[in-house]
């Protein structure tokens, strides 16, 4: 474990990513303390350029962009995390069952996965959000539903490998039940690849959410970065800052998550140690 942490922290980009991510988390946590009123409040004159009374300027209704960015961090992270958790749960369950039991169960589950993979990813997300009406929940659902198949494939592969490893066979020959083999023996061994893939999935989820928001498919009651960009997009030429700051925030966050993911990959994957 310590060894793993050491390897992680040796990786300078990963540390930069981690710091950035902490900053975003901090913003999410302290937003209500910094801005006790809600981020939709019309606080000042519309279209104030950044650097004046408001650090990030105000938007077309006179809302503080900085407040939006801080509150948006909460939504964006929430969507990224929850969607990833759901997708990971579904993906691990499907992939795990398929990989562990094999045979017909595998065939059926993998066909299902394949079917979901054949559907154009973003279009399907749009369809889901439109059908379920654009709320935070439906965006999370949509992102989760389009993200689980790769996870399922990955986990299936890992499970098949683990299933054929001698230690699993030792478990079987000792008379252990399936549940014990799966949860106590196989799952912990696949955890590192799940974590790495999951961390990158968070990044994809954030990008997907912002894409949906850009098309106007975001929750109207929740402040998110995608929402600010979506709303600022029509004033892009007159008030660049409305789009710019949340855009940069997305970019930095996604980048941070990727860096951390890469770092984890190196740290958790002993094969790559020498590289």
């Amino acid at each position: 474990m310590n060894d793993m942490l050491r390897r992680f922290f040796r990786h300078r980009p990963a540390v930069v990513g981690l710091l950035l991510l902490m900053a975003v988390l901090g913003a999410a946590m302290f937003a209500p303390t910094l801005y006790p009123t809600n981020p939709f409040a019309l606080v000042g004159k519309p279209f104030q350029a950044p650097g004046g009374e408001y650090l990030f300027g105000t938007d077309m209704l006179g809302r503080d962009v900085l407040a939006g960015v801080l509150y948006g961090a909460r939504t964006t992270l929430l969507i990224g995390l929850v969607a990833t958790l759901i997708a990971t749960f579904v993906g691990v369950s499907v992939g795990g069952l398929a990989g562990y039991f094999g045979g017909n169960i595998d065939a059926v589950l993998m066909r299902l996965t394949e079917m979901f993979q054949t559907i154009p990813f973003f279009l399907f997300a749009i369809l889901l959000v439109a059908v379920l009406t654009p709320t935070i929940q439906s965006v999370v659902m949509a992102v989760a539903i389009v993200s689980w198949p790769p996870m399922a494939r990955l986990v299936r592969g890992e499970f098949i490998t683990m299933r054929n490893r001698e230690f699993t066979q030792a478990c079987v020959s000792m008379g252990m039940g399936h549940a014990r083999i799966i949860f106590v023996h196989i799952l912990p061994n696949t955890l590192s690849s799940i974590i790495v893939t999951g961390s990158l999935m968070v990044a994809t989820a954030i990008l997907t959410e912002s894409g949906l928001s850009f098309l106007g498919l975001s929750d109207a009651n929740t402040m998110s970065w995608g929402f600010i960009i979506g709303s600022g997009r029509s004033v892009l030429r007159t008030a660049w800052w409305v789009c710019a700051f949340p855009g940069i925030a997305i970019m930095l966050t996604v980048m941070a998550i990727n860096l951390v993911g890469d770092g984890l990959n190196d740290a958790l994957n002993p094969r790559l140690r020498t590289l």
Partner: protein, 325 residues
């Protein structure tokens, strides 16, 4: 029959249930969405009478029970008839075909450049591990990946079209001119540059990163040591030995992505007014143009199946261990 042909046929037979599933799933999902095509048409018209709306519904077959609607649709589909788009007043097949070309014109170059240049950049980065080249490529690709596509598109338009005036703002060709022949091709190419650039940035980053990891992994293989022991230069080893093996995961990834890519990119098509399938699907969804939307899902699923087949063939060419079964 040639084994490749047989294999292809088997794959197609395999794909049929998948495609059926996709159609049914989307049909069911659309049933959950309130409102129908008649509402939309009336809404667009700005006014309508109840009689008129009832008439519309009857025309569109929306007065039938849902399962009949589905059965009717499936029956049509079996005879390769994708039905009629009520909103656009023309057969879905014609509509999709007229939009498919722009999608392909946009997406195929994106894909080829992204995979090609991505693989190149990735292997350069891997071969110069931790040098400035590697750092540059890695940083640039992570940034490109992290930048929302629509944002990049908007920025490129502002810079290159509006400020510098180098490229047209949007569209697929200069429509006033009604160019033909080479002039048209050049014109389309001119329009193509910005959207291709925007999309390529994203995908290229992805492939560059994948390729870098893949090359690094392959470089630690025993056969590389063998090659070195034969007296090959590092460049020869990279080109002749590592590259081909390292490309395998890239090809797999390309196969997985090709489907999504061929469905068009709603976002980029929106930003650049590119008349592609993605935008059409997006519009048809909000118009509840069921036939059209299902048709698009059907066609893109078919494309995915076709591309996967091609990818598998390519894969089997690259990797002799894979036998087509």
């Amino acid at each position: 029959m040639h084994p490749g042909v047989l294999y292809g046929l088997r794959r197609v037979a395999h794909a049929a249930p998948t495609i059926l599933f996709i159609v049914c799933l989307n049909f069911a999902l659309l049933q959950l969405a309130p409102g129908d095509a008649a509402d939309v048409l009336a809404g667009e018209a700005g006014s309508a009478t109840p009689e008129y709306m009832a008439q519309l519904r009857q025309n569109f077959g929306l007065d039938q029970p849902k399962y009949i609607q589905l059965l009717v649709y499936l029956k049509q589909m079996l005879s390769f008839d994708l039905g009629f788009s009520h909103r656009y007043g023309m057969p879905v097949t014609d509509l999709i075909m007229s939009r498919l070309w722009p999608t392909l014109i946009l997406m195929v170059p994106v894909f080829i450049i992204a995979v090609g240049a991505g693989a190149l950049a990735g292997s350069i980065a891997a071969r110069n591990l931790n040098s400035w080249k590697d750092n540059l490529i890695s940083t640039a690709s992570i940034l490109a990946y992290a930048t929302p596509v629509f944002w990049a598109g908007l920025m490129l338009i502002v810079l290159f079209s509006v400020k510098l005036g180098w490229f047209p703002v949007s569209g697929m060709e200069q429509v006033t001119a009604f160019h033909v022949g080479t002039a048209r091709i050049l014109d389309i190419a001119h329009h193509l540059i910005l959207p291709v650039l925007t999309l390529t940035m994203f995908y290229l980053a992805l492939y560059a990163r994948l390729m870098r990891a893949s090359v690094l992994e392959q470089s630690s293989m025993d056969y590389v040591v063998t090659a070195r022991a034969k007296g090959l230069t590092e460049r020869q080893i990279a080109r002749r030995h590592v590259m081909r093996n390292a490309l395998l995961p890239v090809v797999t990834m390309a196969g997985v992505q090709a489907g999504a890519v061929l469905g068009g990119s709603v976002v980029v098509e929106t930003v650049f007014a590119w008349p592609g399938l993605g935008l059409l699907a997006y519009e048809s969804l909000f118009a509840r143009d069921l036939n059209l939307l299902l048709g698009i899902f059907f066609v893109s699923a078919c494309l995915v199946v076709a591309v996967n087949l091609i990818v598998d063939l390519v894969y089997s060419m690259l990797d002799p261990r894979i036998e087509l079964r």
